[in-house]
């Protein structure tokens, strides 16, 4: 499609999508090449070399295996949280922005409520009452359920701006109901915007997951990039100069988030030609 062609002209997009696809490859195809066993294979914090590409962690496990497991899980959490946040935020934003009036005010109140209640409280209390504790899915759901407020606002602003356009008035004269107008006339205009919102929500989901894990409140019984970082910090890797505990996962997180930002920015450039390089 024309959009794709335009996107590919932007070096930022190419780099961004390249990096992102690269990480996806790593996550899905990496396990085919690497040993994914989480058994103890070396002594505590063995340095890289000697068959261990990235050394061992404090329990003697192969970091390559840990990172691959963690990468997959972090991506899963990011995507799930992103989907939830974008869906909820977009629905609320579109509807509120379009309708205006009392409904908009009520939805704004709801949005503000979710902004005001700290994510941490929701996370700890909900996970404390569940028997299975914190699973990856639960974390993703909570991140999504507390992170949609930003999308709601952004989409609402766009939707509100759109509603005064002529073609909407025409549709109304035609007799289309609210829902039909939203689906047929507003959503297509916002599609590109919503997609960009989605990208940012994925990135923010991944960052949130790692932040939550750094507090020790991450998912249990499993690996994620944030958990790897937290383990490194909790076991004194920082002070001892055990760089292989910290840098690989940092680089992975940064790369994913960076690539998503690049994609987002280049899309902004394409959808809004004024931002394109002259």
């Amino acid at each position: 499609m024309k959009i794709l062609k335009n996107l590919l002209k932007s070096p930022m997009f190419v780099i961004g999508i390249g990096l992102f696809l690269g990480t996806l490859f790593l996550a899905f195809l990496g396990p085919l090449f690497a040993n994914m066993s989480l058994d103890r294979v070396a002594s505590s914090y063995a340095p890289p070399g000697d068959g261990l590409l990235l050394g061992a962690d404090n329990l003697g496990r192969n970091y390559v295996a840990l990172l691959l497991h963690g990468l997959r899980n972090s991506l899963y959490v990011g995507f799930l949280a992103g989907i939830i946040a974008t869906t909820v935020g977009t629905l609320i934003g579109i509807y509120g922005g379009f309708k205006g009036g009392i409904i908009d005010d009520i939805l704004s109140v709801t949005t503000n409520l979710f902004i005001v209640i700290p994510q941490l409280i929701v996370l700890i209390l909900i996970s404390a009452s569940l028997k299975d504790g914190r699973s990856l899915t639960l974390i993703a759901v909570i991140i999504g359920a507390t992170g949609w407020t930003w999308s709601a606002r952004a989409v609402r602003a766009q939707s509100a701006a759109l509603k005064s356009r002529d073609h909407i008035a025409l549709a109304r004269i035609n007799g289309d109901g609210t829902f039909a107008i939203l689906v047929k006339h507003i959503l297509p205009y916002l599609a590109s915007y919503v997609f960009m919102v989605f990208i940012i929500q994925i990135a923010s989901g991944i960052l949130s997951e790692s932040a939550i894990s750094m507090l020790g409140l991450g998912p249990m019984d499993t690996q994620s990039l944030g958990i790897i970082l937290n383990d490194a910090k909790a076991n004194g890797a920082l002070g001892d100069g055990i760089w292989w505990g910290i840098f690989p996962s940092t680089i992975l997180i940064t790369t994913i988030v960076f690539s998503l930002y690049l994609i987002n920015t280049s899309m902004e450039g394409v959808f809004n030609p004024r931002l394109r390089r002259e």
């Binding site: 103890r40 329990l59 020790g216 002070g239 001892d240």
Partner: protein, 603 residues
């Protein structure tokens, strides 16, 4: 326009950089000398205070006061006696132990003992704090009443002689009385009587007071200042013990400052840089830090002297933990070498089977031949055999991991969860390794790290499958008896849902027909046995029962506290090579004497 924009931006950046580069000379603590607390006269310690200090009231609940008023830290308020964990001897503090038998313990109060307001420490002060429990059931030391029926006072050679009568009608336990004498701090009765009177004679009101402004103390240091960032103590030059106990010498550090850190690695970094002189926290790979002047009791693994045993407490009311073969299989499956090496950086020596540690203080009660006969054979194969013989079948997934296990009847067993507070990294690592080994042997367990808000209520209520705990975590004279009591006593046995303070695993239900009354009769008898041969026989018998029934699974030996220090500012710390004092940090119990022996490194 461009130029001014750029220059504005740049100058802001430069200004910030300049501001930040005004750094003081060497040392993050503002230089060697100067500042209100010169480095060479200050001892920096950490790890005994985690939250914001809010109270320094010695009568408050045990967890409420801040360091050094909580626990056996005798810097401000002192105990009657000190227990030297190296030699096992009772050393004098405010008093001296004269005699100990099954009926009474006699302590002579040191007539030189004085409070910081000049008044002498008298028998009234001692009686006040021990007898608080009689009048106020909500006193922190109210339980002492169960052990001490009466305190008689007499005057002998000008000193107050206190005779603590063992409460024969209640607990009848002279061992615990000795524990109390080295744990309960003596407070100035004249101060607190007055406070009680002015607060409607209600202890609850007095407990709420902070007592943080020039408190009346008897110890060598007093509170100078505190904030949410640190607690500062200053040496009292009129401390009575300098003349009476230390030949007129004063402790070497003029100030003791306890910074309050929020994250684990802060302590390691602090010790390595020399910002901390001693720290009570778990620091992995301590051996690699010797080059930075960080020392421990021993120069090589295990670096520390064992003091307490973190263990998995098994809730025997839940299937399949009610089957002792299953429990023994669990104990067999764990690779203890891995647990010690990987989870706690090798800080544990080889475990004796059972609850008696191979130390100077306890080793004499251990019989290796007898325990070898009762202990389960270690190893994955041994565990698998025990499970198979008892009728359990493990079903594995194609990738080798455990799917589930069935019992003799073919019914699928529930996954057992090991509960521990999240964030305690050494415990978390131990459990992770244990879980892995057990799953490979076909035992369906998983880690269950929870927030403190779930862990603490669950523990006394038996609201768990398996609980990680470290019972009897202080080294006291009543060990190893108190460890057995904490795990096996049916004295206060209640069902899950109600609260139990020991034996949270509900072992040995007195109402069940399998009840083994030998356990409780041994636990009642041991504190009263005086003959060492019979004592060893009793301990061996109790340990054998433990090994047969395996109500808990010891994982490693950890020290009572992590005794580690920095030689950068203060030297002459007691070590195995220089063992003039016990391996206790210089604010803990008998370790306090180290303060008089420390030498400044800057000479």
């Amino acid at each position: 326009m461009r130029a001014s924009q750029i220059s504005l931006g740049m100058s802001l950046v430069v200004a910030t950089a300049l501001l930040s580069s005004c750094k003081p000379p060497e040392g993050a603590n503002g230089g060697n000398e100067g500042g209100a607390f010169p480095r060479s006269q200050t001892l920096y310690v950490a790890g005994s205070q985690w939250g914001d200090p809010s109270s320094f009231n010695p009568l408050a609940e045990t967890w409420q006061p801040a360091w050094p008023v909580n626990d056996r830290f005798n810097l401000m308020y002192e105990t009657l006696l000190n227990y030297n964990t190296l030699t096992g001897k009772i050393e004098p503090a405010l008093g001296t132990l004269v005699s100990k038998d099954n009926d009474s313990l006699v302590v002579d109060l040191n007539s030189a003992a004085k409070w910081s307001d000049g008044k002498p420490v008298t028998a009234d002060d001692v009686k006040f704090v021990f007898d608080l429990g009689r009048k106020y059931p909500d006193a922190a030391s109210a339980f002492a009443v169960q052990f001490i029926s009466e305190i008689k006072v007499a005057k002998v050679n000008g000193a107050d002689r206190l005779t603590f009568l063992v409460n024969k009608k209640d607990r009848n336990n002279p061992l615990v009385v000795l524990d109390l004498l080295q744990a309960i701090r003596i407070v100035p009765s004249h101060v607190f009587q007055a406070l009680l009177a002015s607060h409607g004679d209600t202890l609850a009101n007095v407990k709420k007071l902070k007592i943080d402004s020039v408190p009346v103390v008897s110890g060598p240091y007093n509170l100078k200042a505190y904030s949410n960032e640190k607690i500062i103590l200053e040496r009292r030059d009129d401390y009575w013990g300098n003349a009476a106990l230390h030949n007129g010498q004063a402790p070497a550090p003029k100030f003791i400052i306890h910074p309050i850190y929020k994250s684990n690695d802060a302590f390691a970094i602090g010790l390595q840089k020399g910002d901390l002189d001693a720290s009570q926290t778990f620091i992995p790979r301590i051996g690699t830090k010797a080059k930075d002047g960080v020392g421990t009791w021993l120069d090589a693994a295990p670096f520390y002297v064992p003091g307490a045993i973190p263990m998995l407490v098994l809730n025997v009311t839940k299937k399949p933990l009610d089957d002792k073969n299953f429990r023994r299989a669990m104990a067999a499956a764990i690779n203890y070498g891995d647990v010690s090496e990987l989870a706690v950086s090798g800080y544990s020596g080889k475990l004796n089977p059972g609850l008696i540690m191979p130390t100077v203080l306890e080793g004499k009660y251990f019989d290796s031949a007898a325990s070898a006969a009762h202990a389960v054979a270690l190893g994955k194969e041994s565990a698998k055999k025990i499970l198979a013989d008892a009728g359990y079948k493990a079903v594995f997934k194609p990738d080798g991991s455990l799917d589930y296990t069935t019992d003799k009847a073919g019914k699928k067993l529930p996954t057992l969860s090991i509960m521990a507070p999240a964030g305690w990294s050494d415990w978390e690592n131990m459990i992770k390794i244990a879980v892995k080994a057990m799953r490979e042997a076909g035992i369906d367990v998983r880690e269950g790290f929870v927030d403190p808000s779930k862990y603490w209520p669950a523990k006394p209520n038996g609201d768990f499958d398996i609980l990680m705990d470290k019972p009897a975590s202080n080294v006291t004279p009543s060990l190893p008896w108190s460890r057995f009591e904490a795990i096996m006593s049916s004295r206060n046995w209640v069902e899950c849902g109600k609260s139990m303070n020991e034996n949270q695993g509900r072992y040995n239900n007195p109402k069940a027909k399998e009840y083994n009354k030998k356990v409780d009769s041994l636990l009642k008898a041991i504190p009263l046995v005086t003959d060492s041969v019979s004592l060893k026989k009793a301990y061996v018998e109790l340990n054998n029962i433990f090994l047969d029934d395996q109500p808990a699974i010891p994982l490693v030996y950890l020290p009572e506290q992590f005794y580690q220090f920095s030689n950068k500012t203060w030297t002459n710390w007691p070590t195995a090579k220089n063992s003039y004092g016990p391996p206790q940090l210089p604010w803990v119990s008998a370790g306090i004497n180290t303060l008089w022996q420390l030498k400044s490194a800057a000479k």
